[in-house]
Symmetry: C2
Subunit: 170 residues, 2 copies
DNA sequence: GAAGATTGATGAATCAATCTTT
DNA sequence: AAAGATTGATTCATCAATCTTC
C-alpha cells in the first residue's frame, strides 16, 4: 500500500481544484485531506509499535485514561466523554482491554446502571512500558519538529473547542 | 457522544504528561491526539453533508479522482496508489460506488488481470453537486482561517513526503 | 421518561490468504 | 515469481434499537 509515489497527490489535487472551481475552497480541501492522511500515517506507525504490547492506539488511549485517573477506575460513560467517542466504541474498547487482562469490569456500588473499568497490575505495567516506548519515539511524529507540533496543536484547539464545546485556555 | 465538555481533554493530558514523564514528548503526544480528534470531527461533518448525495467522504474522494481523470476511468490499483490505501479498501470503496450507480467496473482491454473503474453520468452529476456544496462550506473547516489551513498543509506535507516517498515541491 | 450500557447493523481501515493473469 | 484484485478476518467508528435502573 505504501508504495513510493512519484508526486504529491494533494499538490496535484490542489492544482486541479484551482483550475475547476477557483481558489476559494482550495486551502480547505488541501488541509482536510492532509489531516486525513496524517491521521492514517500516525495511526499505522503507532499501531505497529503498540502491537507487541498487545495494544492498539485507541485501546492505549483508554488504558492511559485509567492509568492516570485518581482511583485507577472510571465509569464507562466518563471514559467515552473524555475520548469523545460513542458509547458503543467504549464497550468495544473495554471488551478488548478486558480480554487481554489489562482492565476488569467492576459494578458501580452506588448506581447499579453503571459499570466501572478498573486497571489491573498487568495493565499498569503495560501502560508504563508502552508509554516509555512512545515517549522515546516522540509518538512517531518524525520528521516534524517541536515548533511544528506546537503549531498543529494550537491551530486545532479552536476546531476542537468549536465542536466539543469547551473554552480554549487561550 | 458530542456532549459539551467542561474542559479541554488534551490540555488535561498535556498537564498530566509533563508531571509524569517530563516535557520532552508532551508536544508530540498533544499534536498526535489533536490530529486524531480533528480527523474524527471533520469526517463526521463531511459524512453528514455527503449523506444526502449518497456518499461518504472516502467514496467522495475516490469518485473525484475518477471525475478529474483524463478518461473518466482508472485501474483500481492506481486509485489505491493515489489514495494511499490498501487494495482491499479500494475494492470495498468501488463496490459501494457501484451499488449506487456512480461508477461501473469495466475490464481492462490490454491487461486481463486489471479492472477499470469508470464514472457514470449520474456519478458526474453527483460529483459536481457534492463538490459545489463542500466548496461552499469550505469543507466544514470552520472556525479555522485561511492562514491556519495553509499552515496545516505546509507542516503536514513533510510528514506525508517522509512516509509516502515523494519529493515535496518546497 | 431519561441515563448507562449493550447488541446488531454498516462503513472504512488493516492483514493474510487466494485466484487469475502476466 | 510477481502483479492485480478479491474474499475472509479483526478493529474502530457511527447509528438505531433494546434492556435495566434511576
Amino acid at each position: 500500500m505504501s508504495k513510493r509515489l512519484p508526486f504529491d497527490p494533494i499538490a496535484e489535487a490542489r492544482r486541479q481544484w484551482s483550475t475547476h472551481w477557483g481558489r476559494a475552497a482550495t486551502p480547505a480541501m488541501a488541509a482536510v485531506t492532509s489531516i486525513m492522511r496524517a491521521q492514517q500515517i500516525l495511526m499505522g506507525r503507532l499501531n505497529s509499535a503498540l502491537k507487541p504490547h498487545g495494544l492498539t492506539f485507541p485501546r492505549y488511549e483508554a488504558l492511559m485514561i485509567l492509568y492516570l485517573s485518581r482511583h485507577g477506575s472510571m465509569p464507562l460513560g466518563k471514559i467515552g466523554e473524555r475520548l469523545q467517542v460513542h458509547p458503543t466504541s467504549v464497550t468495544s474498547l473495554i471488551d478488548g482491554l478486558e480480554r487481554t487482562g489489562y482492565i476488569r469490569r467492576v459494578p458501580h456500588d452506588e448506581d447499579r446502571r453503571a459499570t466501572l473499568a478498573e486497571i489491573t497490575d498487568a495493565g499498569r505495567r503495560t501502560a508504563e512500558d508502552a508509554t516509555a516506548e512512545l515517549n522515546r519515539a516522540r509518538f512517531f511524529t518524525e520528521p516534524l519538529r517541536r515548533a511544528e507540533l506546537d503549531s498543529i496543536s494550537e491551530i486545532l484547539v479552536r476546531l476542537r473547542a468549536d465542536e466539543d464545546g469547551f473554552k480554549p485556555v487561550a
